[in-house]
C-alpha cells in the first residue's frame, strides 16, 4: 500500500545511483575521562578511531561488532548527536555542516534514527500521534497536515490510527512502540535511516515482523539503511554490505556473502564461529576467541586485535594495518597484515 499523501519535502537525487549516499571520512572521537581528584594527566577513551566508509544508495550497510566497539558512537557521530573530534561527511555529494554544504537541520531531516530502547525513545507525555507529528512541524508543515501524515504512517506500519493515534507509549507493546519509532522516522521523509540495534530488544517473532516491515519500506520509499546490530543472523538477513568494527576501528568491510562465506580478518572469523550451530554434529567446543577486548583508554599499539589474535607477528605490535583489498576485489577490504603482505601470509584457519 502506498500512502496517499504527497511528498512534503522536495528531495532531488543529485549524483545518480553510482554516487554513494553517504561518505564518511576519518571519523574520530576520543572521550575525555573526568580526571580524579588527585589525578593529573587526562585520560581519553578512544571510542572511534579514523572510521571511513560509504553507503551506497538504496542499500543496507550492516555494522557489527561486540559491545563497546564503537558501533553506536559511530551512529551518533554520523547523526551529529555527538560532535566528532575529526572527520567529514558527504551526503549525496554535499558536505555536511560545512560552509556551502548541507545545513545540519536539513541533513538531520534526510537522515533519521531508530533507537534500541523503544520506550525511552518515546516521550511518555505525548500521544504517539503527537510524537510522530512533531518532526514535520519543526520543518514547517502545518499541524493538521502533520497529524494526517502521522495517521497515514501509523496505518502503513500496521497500527490502526483510529485505535492507536491517541495512545500513550506505555499503552503499547514493545513491537508496537518500535513501529511508532519507525513511523516517526518516516515522517521526515528521510533518505537514510540509521537503525541502532532497532530490533535487538524485541522477541524473535516480533523481530521478524519488524524486519519484514523494514524491508518493505526500504523498497517502497527507496530508503538506505545503516543497520547496527550485534546479531549476525539479522545482519545477514537485512544487509547488502557488512562492516565489522573492533575497538573503534573498521577491521573488515565487504558484500554480505563475502563476509559470511570468506571472511578475511581473524576477528570476523571468530565472530562467525561464535554463532551457535544448529547442527548437533557440529557443536562448537572450543571458544573461538579468548579474553576481553582491550581497554579503549589504552588501546594496544599496532594492530588493536593483536592481543587476541593467534596469528600475531612482530609487525602487528608496531604497525597499524591499513584497509587493503582482499584478492584484488575493490568492494572487500580488510585491515590485517596477513592480507596486505606486510607479514608472512598465513592463510589457514578452521573455517
Amino acid at each position: 500500500m502506498m500512502d496517499a499523501s504527497p511528498p512534503l519535502f522536495k528531495d532531488i537525487d543529485k549524483g545518480g545511483p553510482a554516487q554513494p549516499l553517504l561518505v564518511v571520512r576519518g571519523l574520530r572521537k576520543h572521550f575525555l575521562l573526568k580526571p580524579g581528584l588527585f589525578q593529573k594527566n587526562k585520560q581519553y577513551v578512544h571510542a572511534v578511531e579514523d572510521v571511513s566508509f560509504s553507503v551506497a544508495k538504496g542499500k543496507t550497510l550492516g555494522i557489527v561488532g561486540e559491545s563497546g566497539c564503537g558501533k553506536s558512537t559511530t551512529a551518533k557521530l554520523i547523526a551529529r548527536l555527538i560532535k566528532p573530534d575529526h572527520g567529514s561527511m558527504i551526503f549525496d555529494g554535499e558536505g555536511v555542516a560545512e560552509y556551502g554544504g548541507l545545513e545540519l537541520k536539513e541533513f538531520r531531516r534526510k537522515l533519521q534514527m531508530v533507537f534500541q530502547d523503544s520506550y525511552a525513545s518515546l516521550n511518555p507525555r505525548l500521544t504517539i500521534e503527537q510524537t510522530i507529528a512533531f518532526g514535520p512541524q519543526v520543518h514547517g508543515v502545518s499541524k493538521d497536515q502533520a497529524t494526517n501524515l502521522a495517521h497515514t504512517l501509523l496505518d502503513r506500519v500496521g497500527l490502526k490510527p483510529a485505535q492507536y493515534a491517541n495512545r500513550y507509549p506505555h499503552e503499547l507493546s514493545g513491537g508496537q512502540r518500535q513501529r511508532v519509532n519507525i513511523a516517526r522516522a518516516l515522517a521526515f521523509q528521510p533518505r537514510l535511516i540509521i537503525l541502532d540495534e532497532a530490533v535487538a530488544a524485541l522477541d524473535k517473532s516480533v523481530q521478524a515482523q519488524v524486519l519484514n516491515l523494514l524491508q518493505e519500506l526500504k523498497e517502497e520509499r527507496e530508503l538506505t539503511y545503516l543497520f547496527i546490530s550485534h546479531d549476525l543472523h539479522v545482519v545477514q538477513y537485512l544487509s547488502d554490505e557488512v562492516m565489522v568494527m573492533y575497538l573503534g576501528q573498521v577491521v573488515e568491510k565487504g558484500p554480505v556473502e563475502r563476509i559470511f562465506n570468506t571472511p578475511a580478518h581473524p576477528y570476523t572469523k571468530a565472530l562467525l564461529q561464535a554463532i551457535p550451530s544448529m547442527d548437533p554434529d557440529h557443536k562448537t567446543w572450543v571458544s573461538p576467541l579468548s579474553g576481553d577486548p582491550p581497554n579503549p583508554i589504552n588501546p594496544p599499539s599496532g594492530c588493536r586485535f593483536r592481543d587476541r589474535c593467534d596469528h600475531a607477528k612482530a609487525t602487528c605490535h608496531t604497525v597499524s594495518p591499513a584497509l587493503s583489498k582482499v584478492e584484488g576485489l575493490s568492494d572487500h577490504v580488510v585491515a590485517c597484515h596477513m592480507n596486505d603482505g606486510f607479514s608472512q601470509p598465513h592463510l589457514e584457519g578452521p573455517l
Binding site: 548527536l81 538531520r108 537522515l111 516521550n123 507525555r125 519543526v138 506505555h170 521526515f188
Partner: protein
C-alpha cells in the same frame, strides 16, 4: 482495572490533565480534602458578603465570649471581635500567603531548574552549588532571617517565603530535567532539527511540570504555616489585620481564660494545611498514569 469504552471513532485527544482529573475523582480522601479547601477558599473570597459581622468592630463588653454564644457562633476574641468573621477574613491573607510564594517559586524555580538541567556542565554546577547554600539552612530559620533583614510587612514576608522555596523547586526541576535530557526521545527530538527552545517546550516541560507541580502542592501547607509563624513573630502581617498566625499570637494571652477560642486559628491552620497535603498526595498518585 481501568476499562476504556470502546468506540469506533478515534477518541478525542482529551490530554494528559484530563486523564489525571479522572483518576483524582476516584480518590476519596483527596476529594474530601479538595472539598475542604474549596470551602475555605469560598469563605475567604466571599467573606465581605457572607461574614456575620465587621472583623474590626471591637466591644469591651463582649470579650472572649465562649463558642456557641448567641450571635457569635465561634465566640469572640480578646477585643470582643467576632471570631467566625475574623477567621473568614483571616483565610484571605493566610491563603494568599500560602499560595503566592509557592506560585512565584514554582515559576522561578522551574525556569532556573530547566535551564540548569538542560545546559548541564559547569553552568549547572555553579547554579546548583549557589542554591545549596540556601538549602543548608532550615527553612524556618531562613524565612525568619530574610524577613528580619527586609523588615516586617506582608510583601517582605512574601519575598522571604519565595526565596525559601525557590531552591527546593529548582532542585526537583533540575534533577528531572537532567534525567530526561539523557533519554533517547530527546536525542530523537534533536534529530528532528528542532531548536533548543522548541525541544524544551514540547519535549521536556511536560515531563518536568508533573513532579514539580506535585512537590509544589506539598509546599502550600508549609508556606501557610511559615507565613503564620512569621506573623506570629511580628514579622508578617500587622495588627489589627486578621491573619491566622497573628490571631494565634494575640489570643495567646487569653489561653487560660478561653482555651478553645484561642485554639481556633491554630485549628484552621492545621485543617487547611492537612487538606492541602492530602490533596497533594492524591494528585501525586493520580498523575502516575502508568498504573
Amino acid at each position: 482495572m481501568h476499562i476504556q469504552n470502546a468506540s469506533k471513532l478515534p477518541p478525542a485527544n482529551k490530554g494528559y490533565w484530563f486523564t489525571v482529573f479522572q483518576q483524582l475523582k476516584g480518590e476519596r480522601i483527596a476529594m474530601i480534602s479538595a472539598g475542604v479547601v474549596l470551602l475555605i477558599v469560598v469563605a475567604a473570597l466571599f467573606a465581605p458578603w457572607i461574614a456575620p459581622a465587621d472583623p474590626f468592630k471591637a466591644s469591651m463588653l463582649k470579650r472572649l465570649l465562649p463558642i456557641g454564644s448567641e450571635g457569635y457562633l465561634l465566640g469572640t476574641d480578646e477585643l470582643g471581635r467576632d471570631m467566625l468573621t475574623r477567621l473568614m477574613y483571616g483565610a484571605r491573607l493566610s491563603l494568599l500567603m500560602g499560595v503566592l510564594p509557592v506560585f512565584f517559586a514554582f515559576v522561578m524555580g522551574t525556569s532556573i531548574g530547566l535551564f540548569a538541567g538542560y545546559v548541564g556542565g559547569r553552568t549547572n554546577m555553579l547554579i546548583m552549588r549557589v542554591l545549596d547554600i540556601f538549602y543548608a539552612f532550615p527553612s524556618v530559620l531562613l524565612a525568619v532571617a530574610i524577613s528580619g533583614a527586609l523588615g516586617p510587612g506582608m510583601s517582605n514576608s512574601l519575598i522571604a517565603l519565595t526565596l525559601v522555596f525557590v531552591p527546593q523547586v529548582v532542585r526537583i526541576a533540575e534533577s528531572v530535567t537532567t534525567q530526561v535530557r539523557q533519554l533517547d526521545y530527546l536525542e530523537a527530538a534533536r534529530m528532528s532539527g528542532a531548536g533548543t527552545f522548541e525541544i524544551i517546550r514540547v519535549q521536556v516541560l511536560g515531563n518536568v511540570l508533573g513532579p514539580v507541580f506535585v512537590y509544589s502542592t506539598g509546599l502550600l501547607s508549609v508556606s501557610m504555616i511559615l507565613a503564620s509563624g512569621l506573623s506570629f513573630l511580628g514579622l508578617g502581617v500587622k495588627p489589627p489585620e486578621p491573619e491566622w498566625g497573628l490571631m494565634l499570637n494575640t489570643l495567646r494571652s487569653a489561653i487560660y481564660k478561653a482555651p478553645l477560642t484561642a485554639a481556633l486559628p491554630g485549628a484552621m491552620i492545621f485543617i487547611t494545611s492537612i487538606s492541602f497535603n492530602l490533596l497533594a498526595d492524591g494528585i501525586r498518585s493520580a498523575m502516575d498514569i502508568k498504573k
